[in-house]
Symmetry: C2
């Protein structure tokens, strides 16, 4: 059976999509069967890995709305061990359409039920909000990875994020855990980065990954070629960091 | 009478809050009466300018829900010519509570009706989403400033953003215009930045500000002291860029 992990933080631009794509790619390279679910109407995870996202039907929207068989929304990314459920703008409509629907928080969880057995890991890229899409992601997940930018506003949003996670854990998904807190866009040249890092490590203690993702322009360039960082520049600091993260992640998830 | 301007882009982390705070501060320094409205449940615009946001009641939430007189939600920032309507986590609840309310898109517009006459400019910091809060901001506005990061994912989200603006213009607010498109976090050292800039200028033509905001760590440090960039480091590249933006903005808005 597989483990389902959401990449979530309501603060925008903290590296959720970059982490979802590159962790998924790194796990696939380590022969883990991975499904990446794009749950953000911007469709950045889809756009960063596949070129034909506009031609895909059905997508995440149709499976949340229970209009199509979830298996039909699974597409190959052209890489071994890495499939994707893409997303597009329709997903923004789902939030409104599902408001009064029965069991609206569990739509994704139900959709992934039959897919779980074909993958070792399912990784969900969540949007920058605390809305129904993010709640669906957390309701379907065993755990959540929280990317946190080494910047001041990251600290401000923490308490809201923790509130949301505990609310979902109490009311919707008792087994939800924090998989880890990932420090991103760390810039060795600025003292702000170190101050925020210190603060986050004090706040989350052992939940923070040893791996810190540096600010590295190669990570920002890779999606414009539809490539993971490993395909685009395997020698880059970004590739090294996401490789380290994948190793740390697998150590946490392998049987003793 | 005053002009109401939303700072909006559903892509996260592109510099909406940084632009809202520093443009508002720069206009206040040019003796324009400015009200900054924080419409993001993260409350970053509030946290970046005032220290006591947790003590404020009422806030943006109460005025959207029509529970308090809007004038009561206006607070001084301690700077001349710059007031704020702060926000906190409650605002995330408004989205759900307002779903079936009468005239839910026009709540902010109505709330600002009586405040308009006391300010030359009202600047609204919108959240990273295309939801009811952003629609409220656009429905209340004369125009929108669109910050766009000089990065690949910025290009992907453009068509959705344009769709949303034209949807609001057709259905909710006929007079909504694009005030300008602002290129942010430009990094002179990377070719990606120049490629994206070129692409955006081709796409938006004359709507793009001549002013380009460089990536400048001082802009990221200032909010941790609750200061605008002008108070924190008036000699920085960030301060120079936002001063230039304010001048360009006032040129666009001054009578011939
Ligand atoms: N470590 C890094 N170094 C440099 N750039 C990065 C890094 N991680 C991500 N980026 C770039 O920063 C921007 C924001 O990252 P990304 O889109 O992954 O964040 P996000 O949290 O998914 O954003 P959103 O909130 O909009 O979903 C993107 O342009 C991305 O390419
Ligand atoms: N020009 C810049 N140079 C360097 N850092 C910047 C710049 N502009 C903004 N930042 C920093 O980048 C991060 C994102 O900026 P900001 O929070 O203003 O974006 P936003 O669009 O409001 O994000 P959200 O989508 O979460 O509302 C913040 O930590 C901010 O301090
Ligand atoms: Mg994303
Ligand atoms: Mg913001």
């Amino acid at each position: 059976s597989s483990k389902i992990i959401s990449i979530t933080n309501q603060k925008g631009g903290v590296g959720k999509t970059t982490t979802a794509i590159n962790l998924a790619a790194a796990l696939a390279a380590r022969l883990q069967d991975v499904l990446l679910v794009d749950l953000d109407g911007q469709g950045n995870a889809s756009g960063g890995l596949i070129r034909n996202k506009k031609d895909c039907y059905p997508t995440a929207y149709e499976i949340l709305m229970d209009k199509e068989d979830p298996a039909k929304a699974v597409y190959s990314t052209g890489r071994e061990f890495l499939d994707i459920i893409p997303a597009n703008d329709d997903l923004n409509g789902a939030k409104v359409e599902l408001v009064s629907a029965e069991g609206r928080e569990y739509r994704l969880k139900e959709a992934l039920q039959n897919l779980k057995n074909s993958y070792s890991y399912i990784i969900i890229d969540a949007p920058p909000s605390l809305d129904l899409l993010t709640v669906n992601a957390l309701a379907a997940s065993d755990s959540a990875i929280i990317p946190i930018q080494c910047e001041y506003y990251a600290l401000e949003g923490l308490s809201q994020l923790i509130n949301t996670l505990s609310m979902v854990k109490k009311g919707i998904n008792r087994s939800l855990e924090i998989e880890g807190v990932l420090l991103t866009m760390h810039d060795r040249r600025t003292s702000l980065s170190y101050q925020v890092m210190e603060n986050i490590r004090k706040h989350f203690k052992g939940a923070v990954y040893n791996t810190v993702i540096p600010r590295n322009v190669r990570l920002a360039e890779a999606p414009s070629f539809g490539k993971s960082i490993f395909e685009y520049d395997s020698e880059s600091a970004g590739a090294a960091a996401y490789n380290m993260l994948a190793d740390e992640f697998l150590r946490d998830n392998s049987p003793e």
